[in-house]
Every structure is written in structure tokens, then in C-alpha cells.
Symmetry: C2
């Protein structure tokens, strides 16, 4: 037996989980089937048509007419980096709103791109107040752009954007929005809200496997890029070249992740077949029922203003949240997420995103949580969570 | 009908091509099946085990013991960027060998990372002479690293590395190697050849869909990263964080492309089941047969020293190569590649990579080319190409 044969791993055989963490969410069988369609070339006319259709559907889901709308060949964080490095030149001033992991990450990305970053901070779990934005813009009159997270996956906070967008545009700056955990699940209107750069991931409310980052730039953002004096620091994410591949020129840049594009294409078809409004309403209904059930279990939400797609709850006093998550995974095959940052070991995050947002999953996770928490000595009224969720479903009919 | 419904694209239905271009190559059904396995979480214990197995198999294929061996969440060019931005700090001096598209790209990436780049150039299609490297190192005594392309996909040139590696290491610099079109198809020995950073793509000789970039760093490269005074300019590609996710710490960095990792895992199993030596020999046999056939058709190779995985040939005088490629695609479903740079419109590139490197494909493409070239008025002896290939196969038995 050679060394190579010894190193040969067994065939993989991943289990069928119920994905109720902060992403990935459950992927519909038809999206997995599209993923496995035959690979073709990245310059094949058939593939170029699939790219065109994908960007048209992305525009519909982003609610934008932006010409420069595409899928970056990386996960959501690559979308964040692409948005920032294309708009920031060394020495540019940027305000970043920080109230969780992803605002913190955006600040780091902007600093690495050479921006002078001014932070607006809010306690994790709280949202950013428009007055803070007004004050920061006044204090930093050279601000070129402001970045903010619409759906803070680390805390479950849902950030209102319209008033902040008005402030930023009245000031003459550009608005960059992280919509990783909102696109396709929470109301998001890129054009109406005048967002200049908006990025997301495929593995959250679009219920596609992770690997691509939907990204759209407004005409004003494109103009800002066209005025750059320096090259974008990342060759891989340079939108001036990416747009020549996604656009009519079809200039080869890099080999696109062909099969991931198939999957995104199919997941966007799923979204548009359901309809955006119906899909957003479904996320709201299931969230309200889950929330009623969680509160019946005595659990408290972390954020003041919760997303419908992600439910961050404080762990009950004296309960080891890692043990709860382990039981859910091992006994039920249910994945939920841990707390992050100041909530590490102190919170749990239950996602209801895309295909994972169903009455079946709400019922299952509440029933399983009730059993697991009871096993941990938490006083729960048996059956009350499901009953509370059911009453909430009934009230929404 | 709403706007959204109007934008709904038809289901995708990509054809079964024969992929004989510069990548992607044909993906085996078992790899596509692995790609479509159920998505699980990026911190799921089952997924973490798949990551461990994947990096162990990557080490076997790279022929290295390097601890820091992983798959970057992007295509091959992201692997190039990751190798460079982690090793270069602003002001560092780097020598880049340029004899095609990918050397040119590496220079661009290094400059964007703030390196002072000294180029060694060779005519496209030629390889870099060790004497040029010796001279450049002498001329630039502060050189920190030298970058070179092992398999120049744009010209088909196969670059010998061992002598150059000795020069670079005797000098005390680091060696960065682009192995996008060689890993898993052409002899490549990362440890024996003392390569400090080596990256590839999944869609070439590994016959996995595009979307991940295998990357390995030597202990010396890791030490150089540990000595950095500045942060890596790319958050997404920062190896100091990526290694905490791929390593025992399992610190969340970004959501890995789960299903693409499944596919890479399976494609590495395919490679190791065949065995690296047998696989490299298969590429050699099929290349020699194709070459005999192409030369029987009167076609001339672009590079002096051709890769076995990619065959770049001059277009016959007076023949529109775009028309030839179009006929191959439309009449036979065969993809071959166009010329790039100075060879645009003047050369064609026929890949025989991974699963695409078969006697069946050699026979098919020669037979189809003969017909298409005859249709374009090229004087070809009918049947001679296949006969020449067959004689070459017989001589190799």
C-alpha cells in the first residue's frame, strides 16, 4: 500500500441536517440538482446566457435597476470586501457603524483598504440611531462613504435604513449596506432606499449553498469607481474588470464558479416563483410563531428590534448553551448557532431563513428545545411553547 | 403577471460538453454527485472532519508535509492573490517571471499588494532561463520572494523549477509557484523542490468544478508571515485567520463553500485512487498521441517545451480560429480554447486535463479537427491524424 492510498479518505456521506443556525440554511433538492448539472466552460454561450439570467433575477431580488449587479466568486465576506475595496482609495474617509461582528469586520476591511475609518458604535443588539449618523457626518465633513449592516447576524438586530440613507445622501456620501442575512427574507429595496453598494451571501435567505456573493453597485458608486486615481488593491475583486466579464464585453477575468452559478440561478427562480412579498411575509409569520414559543419557554431576545430571519436569545441562567446545541445536533440533527463576541457562551441563535423558515421547523425546534431545556433543569411548562406558536399562527391567518 | 414573474428565467439545462479547453475539464459523475450532497454547517463536526481529510489529501497531491495547506474559498486567481498578499508587505521587493498571461497577472497582483516588482521576461511560449533568475537576484539584492508559473496556461509552456528553486533559496528568498494547470496532472513536488507557496485551481487537472483554490505554504513562508509588521491587505484571504479555521482552533472566519469542499474531497479521492504517478503518466501518454495527431495535421506547437495538460498550437495560415472553435462546439459539443495576448486569433489551446485526458477524447478531437480544417480548405491527409495518434499509443505500450 502506498502513502497515497493510506491518505485516501473514505467517501463522504454528510447527514441530512435541519439547518436553523445563522446560515447556511436548508437547500431545496431542486437547487442541489442544479448544482450537479454538467460543468461547462465559463465562456460557453450557454453559460453566458445563464449569467445574464442570473443578474436579471438578482436585480429583481435586490429591487434595483443597477446595471452593475453580479455574483462575486466568493462567500458573503468576499462581497463585503469587494464593496469596500472598489469604493475606498487610500486616505479616503469612511464612517462604519459597529454594533456586532459584521460591523466590526467591515471596519477592519475598510482599514486594510487604507481608509481612515470613523466608527459609530452601539451596544451589541441595539441598532444605530440616525442622530448618531447625523452627528458623525457633521464631525467628519470629508466622509466619502458610510457602511452599515442591515441584518446583524451576530445579534439578530434589524437596522432601519431609510432615514440614515437620507442623511448620507443629503450629505453627498455613498451608502454601503451589508444585506447578508436579509436579501430574499427581509424587506430590502436597493433603489427606493438609495443604497449605493449592497452585498449578500447565497447561503442565508436565498437557500443556496455558500460560495457566491450577490453584489450590486448604483450608478453613483460606479462613477466613484471611474474617478479612482489608484488601482483597486484586489485584482480578484476589481469591479472594473469583473464588469467587463459580466457585461457585453465578456472579457475573460477569472474562471467563474460555474456550478455554483447554476445553483444560484435555481435558487433565484425559487425566490421569484414564491414572490418576494410572499416570501418576506412567510419569514414574518414563522418568526412571530417561533418568538411566541420561545417566550413561552421563558427565553428572552437579545436585540431590541429582531430580524425575522435570525432569532438571538439569551441562554437561560445556569444553562450551558454549548450543551444545548450539542443535544439538538446529536439527538435531532438540528443545527442552531452559538453566541458571538460578548454573547459567546451566553446566547443562542436560531435562524429561520429561506427554505428553513417553515411551520414544520418552528414546531420541531420548539419541541426539541423544550425537551432539552427540561433535561437541563429549566422549568418549562410542557407543551406551552407549541401551543403559543400555534395561537400565533392562528392569529395571523 | 408581476414584474418578478416576468424576470423569472427558464430552468437551466446545460449541455454535456466535452471540455478540452484550458479548464474547466470534464467533471466525473461521482464528483458532481458529491457536490449535490446535503449542505451542512461550516462548523458541523462532520464538516470539520471533511476539511481535515481534504487538507490531508491536498498534502498528498501537492507532495508536501506543509501544515498550512488548505483550499481558499475562491477560484485559482484567488489562490494567486492569497499567496502574494500574505507574503508581500508594502515596499517589499519581488521578482516576477513573466512569459504569459499568468505571470503578467502575478505581477499586477504583487504591485497592487504594494511590492516593488522586478520582472524577468521571456517571449510568450518560451520558458524562463535559470541564468535570468541568477542575474535578477544579483541585480536586486533585497528581493524577498520570486514568483514563477509552473504551467503557463496561456501558452502551454512547461517551466522547469528545480534549478531556479536552488538559486532562489541559495539567495535566501522565498519561491512562489503557480501550479494551476499542473497540480494533479504534471509532476510537481512541493517539498522536494522547496516551493514556499504553491497554489492551484480545482477545475484543471483535479477535474472538480471551479470555485476553490488549493494553497500550501512552507514553514519558511509561515515564518515570514509571522514576522509581518502590517496586516494582510485582504481580510478575506488573510492566512493568519484562515489557519485558525483550518487548524485545531476552528475559529469562525467566513462561511466556507461547503458543497464545493465536498466536490474537492471526492475529486482528490479520484486522484489518489488512480495514484499520482499513474495519473501523470496517463497525461503524458495522451498528450504524446494528441501531439502526433496534431503534427500529422500539419499543426505546430506554440511552446518550445509543452505541458502535457495543455496543447497550444498555431492556427494554420489563413484559417479563422474562432470559426474552427465554433464548429467544434456547435457540431460536436467540444470546447477548446482561444489564443490569448499576442496569440489572440492566432492560436488554439487544447486541454487534456484530469478526466478529460482520455484516448476517447484524443481520438474525437483529432477526427473532428480534421473534418473542420478540411472544411476550411486546409490540406489534410484524411485519417492520418488518427493513425499517427494510434502509432504513438502503440509505441508507448
Amino acid at each position: 500500500m502506498t502513502d497515497q492510498a493510506i491518505l485516501l479518505a473514505p467517501p463522504l456521506n454528510p447527514p441530512q441536517r435541519v439547518l436553523l443556525g445563522p446560515g447556511p440554511s436548508d437547500v431545496p433538492p431542486r437547487v442541489l440538482a442544479a448544482l450537479a448539472a454538467p460543468t461547462i466552460g465559463h465562456l460557453d454561450p450557454v453559460y453566458l446566457k445563464i449569467m445574464d439570467e442570473t443578474r436579471a433575477m438578482l436585480r429583481a431580488v435586490f429591487r434595483t435597476k443597477n446595471e452593475l449587479t453580479m455574483a462575486v466568486s466568493g462567500t458573503g465576506s468576499a462581497g463585503m470586501e469587494a464593496a469596500i475595496v472598489n469604493l475606498v482609495e487610500p486616505g479616503d474617509e469612511m464612517i462604519v457603524c459597529v454594533n456586532g461582528v459584521f460591523g466590526t469586520r467591515m471596519r477592519d476591511v475598510a482599514q486594510r483598504a487604507g481608509a481612515t475609518v470613523h466608527s459609530i458604535e452601539a451596544e451589541w443588539g441595539r441598532t444605530i440611531d440616525p442622530q448618531q449618523v447625523a452627528d458623525a457626518l457633521k464631525a467628519h465633513p470629508k466622509t466619502k462613504l458610510l457602511g452599515i449592516v442591515h441584518a446583524e447576524t451576530s445579534t439578530g438586530a434589524h437596522q432601519p435604513l431609510e432615514e440614515i440613507s437620507d442623511l448620507v445622501h443629503d450629505f453627498g456620501a455613498l451608502l454601503v449596506v451589508d444585506a447578508v442575512t436579509s436579501l430574499g427574507g427581509v424587506e430590502l429595496k436597493v433603489d427606493d432606499w438609495k443604497i449605493d453598494a449592497c452585498y449578500s451571501g447565497t447561503q442565508k435567505c436565498l437557500s443556496c449553498p455558500p460560495g457566491l456573493a450577490p453584489l450590486t453597485f448604483s450608478p453613483a458608486a460606479v462613477e466613484a469607481m471611474d474617478r479612482r486615481k489608484t488601482k483597486v488593491q484586489s485584482w480578484y475583486l476589481d469591479a472594473s474588470m469583473l464588469r467587463q466579464y459580466w457585461g457585453a464585453e465578456r472579457v475573460y477575468h477569472h474562471t467563474a464558479p460555474i456550478n455554483m452559478t447554476y445553483a444560484l440561478h435555481e435558487s433565484l427562480r425559487v425566490v421569484l416563483e414564491e414572490g418576494l412579498e410572499a416570501r418576506i411575509a412567510r419569514h414574518t409569520h414563522n418568526h412571530k410563531a417561533l418568538r411566541a414559543g420561545l417566550e413561552a419557554l421563558g427565553l428572552k431576545y437579545v436585540p431590541e428590534h429582531s430580524l425575522t430571519t435570525l432569532n438571538a436569545i439569551h441562554s437561560p441562567a445556569g444553562v450551558d448553551e454549548a450543551k444545548v446545541r450539542k443535544r439538538l445536533l446529536e439527538d435531532y440533527g438540528i443545527e442552531i448557532g452559538a453566541g458571538l463576541g460578548p454573547f459567546k457562551g451566553k446566547a443562542m441563535r436560531i435562524g429561520l431563513m429561506g427554505s428553513s423558515s417553515t411551520k414544520r421547523n418552528v414546531t420541531l425546534v420548539l419541541a426539541a428545545l423544550e425537551t432539552v431545556l427540561a433535561g437541563e433543569g429549566v422549568a418549562v411548562g410542557r407543551g406551552e411553547a407549541i401551543a403559543a406558536a400555534e395561537r400565533m399562527y392562528a392569529s395571523q391567518r
